[in-house]
């Protein structure tokens, strides 16, 4: 059934019938498996990947390195939770290497992002330092390349 997950990861707009045929399982079985994955939160959700730069004038995404002092009982989890509860936080990961947490946040303006870091993030107890890197251009996300459709020169040959 992992095949279903691979197919959904590629394109979650496929119908259950399509998924079932492509995975080579009966439709009812595919439907039940997907339901189970959803219930168990193996499948967290379904979202579109959007090139916002082509729609809005200004939109800002930043990657923030955060150093923290881990809490004694829950380690990094407790402090991570305090951070990711903010809606502004899009993604967050615990990292190996020179900093502890990587956070990706999106805002409408540079100011908005800077305010979040200064007013909210830095003041959380246990956060010892941050470094904000603004994303200048997105090239690729989840295997999808950010590039407008080039006009296609269609020439057909008979093969």
């Amino acid at each position: 059934m992992e095949k279903l997950l691979e197919l959904l990861e590629q394109d979650c707009t496929m119908s259950t019938a399509q998924l079932a045929a492509a995975a080579g399982v009966p439709e009812a079985e595919a439907k039940a498996a997907i339901k189970k994955y959803e219930d168990e939160r193996v499948i967290l959700g379904y979202q579109a990947i959007i090139d916002w730069d082509r729609v809005r004038k200004e939109t800002v995404t930043a990657l923030i390195e955060v150093n923290v002092t881990p809490q004694s009982i829950d380690g990094f989890d407790r402090i991570a939770e305090r951070i990711y509860q903010y809606d502004e936080v899009e993604s967050m990961y615990l990292m190996s290497g020179s900093f502890d947490l990587a956070i990706i946040i999106s805002g409408r303006t540079l100011r908005e992002v800077a305010m979040f870091v200064g007013d909210r993030l830095s003041t959380i107890q246990g956060v010892t330092g941050t470094a904000t890197h603004f994303i200048l251009r997105k090239y690729k996300e989840k295997h999808l390349v950010f590039r407008p459709q080039e006009p296609e020169e269609r020439e057909y040959i008979f093969v």
Binding site: M14, S15, Q18, A21, A23, R154, Y156, F158, V159
Partner: protein, 395 residues
């Protein structure tokens, strides 16, 4: 000038394909879907493209040896051994060609004497008959049957053989039917060929695209190696159609003759493409598996749904085509395709374009996105429903 008197008679006798008119219509259409072209929808894997680019950066812009770069021939020999258990000596048994098509052309030209008969099973890719004619041969067509899953049967072959038969073309896995020849089917063909001098051009360009079992080459069978010319290439297996990279393997005297012709007509296959092909052979097996798995998903979906909406379709086990039976609609293949294109804006190819045995069938290529395939099914369903309604009124 009257060019009819100037042009070679044989080339004048060869009719251009009627398919062009469909493509002309298609090119004018917006939001049309094409399942018409037999070409992978994948771009060549990046590491292979990169190897081509790197060869240019390094300044590898000259001719290679006529037979193709030594390292490429070595890699091809290793690949054929690894994947299909075929043994060919890179030194004298392998020629790198400009696509599989050049290899087919060369093979026919070095084997056929004027008046020799070339047996061509149809429906099949359109090049064999015309190339056989240009080589001075006489194509003899065997009509493969849907009830045989478009396999060549020993009875059909035996009936087609005369004392003029020189070559049998064996085009499996098949474009357009998706049919394959399993080992037992080949054994039966080999039995007919044993004791004759008939040569076989085995076009194995889709060898990597079989589903459920590995492709078997005729050259693997007892006594068949000496009479088999194996044609293969990178177009379908590695999504490299535009690079024009093919190769052909055969006993040394045949490759020597083909190389002679190749050096006059072509000189050497494109150098950049050969460097890319080396990378494809060395590190491309994973790409093959990945693409085959993708095609397989689409294949299963398409076959299941064509049958569901009422077009009977045998399960194709090779290549990337389905070949549904449209006789229940009462339309000819061409009528079907023309109306389907005009009414629903989906291009599929009439089966009769691939020879007489293809009438009553259409070819749809599933080397297309799942989205396009799903949409095509919906449109096909609609088309058939409308057709039945109209026919009901008329009837």
């Amino acid at each position: 000038m009257n060019y009819d008197n100037i042009l070679n008679e044989k080339i004048q006798g060869i009719k251009p394909s009627g398919i062009r008119k469909f493509f002309d219509i298609l090119e004018e259409m917006t939001d049309a879907i094409s399942l018409g072209i037999g070409e992978p929808d994948f771009v060549t894997p990046w590491h292979i493209r990169d190897a081509g680019i790197y060869s240019l950066e390094r300044g590898h812009t000259k001719y290679t040896s006529n037979a193709g770069m030594l390292q490429l021939r070595r890699e091809i020999a290793a690949y054929l051994n690894r994947r299909f258990d075929l043994q060919y000596d890179y030194n004298g048994q392998i020629l790198v060609t400009v696509g599989g098509s050049e290899a087919i052309d060369l093979a026919l030209r070095v084997l056929v004497n004027p008046g020799d008969e070339v047996i061509v099973p149809v429906p099949s890719f359109v090049c064999y008959g015309p190339l056989a004619e240009m080589a001075g041969g006489v194509p003899k067509y065997i009509e493969l049957k849907a009830e045989d899953q478009f396999r060549l049967t020993p009875e059909q072959l035996r009936a087609a053989i005369t004392d003029k038969t020189k070559v049998l073309v064996l085009p499996f896995p098949s474009n357009p039917t998706g049919g394959i020849m399993e080992r037992r089917d080949l054994e039966a063909i080999a039995e007919v060929l044993r004791g004759t001098d008939i040569m076989v051009i085995s076009d194995e360009i889709y060898a990597e695209l079989t589903y459920g079992q590995r492709h078997v080459s005729l050259a693997n069978l007892t006594d068949m190696y000496e009479r088999t010319v194996v044609v293969n290439g990178f177009s379908k297996s590695h999504a490299m159609t535009g690079w024009r990279m093919g190769y052909v393997c055969a006993p040394k005297p045949i490759i020597a003759a083909m190389t002679k012709l190749h050096q006059f007509g072509i000189m050497s296959a494109p150098t950049t493409s050969q460097y890319a092909a080396v990378e494809a052979m060395r590190n491309g097996d994973g790409d093959i598996e990945h693409m085959r798995e993708e095609y397989d998903r689409r294949r299963r979906y398409l076959v299941e749904n064509l049958n569901r909406i009422g077009l009977s379709c045998f399960e194709p086990k090779g290549a990337f085509y389905v070949f549904p039976d449209i006789r229940s609609t009462g339309l000819t293949s061409e009528e079907f395709c023309e109306r389907f294109l005009m009414e629903e804006k989906v291009a599929v190819i009439p089966g009769n374009a691939f020879g007489p045995g293809g009438e009553g069938f259409v070819r749809a290529c599933y080397a297309a996105s799942m989205k396009d395939i799903a949409e095509s099914i919906a449109r096909m369903d609609n088309f058939l429903a409308n057709l039945r309604r109209k026919q009901g009124r008329e009837g």
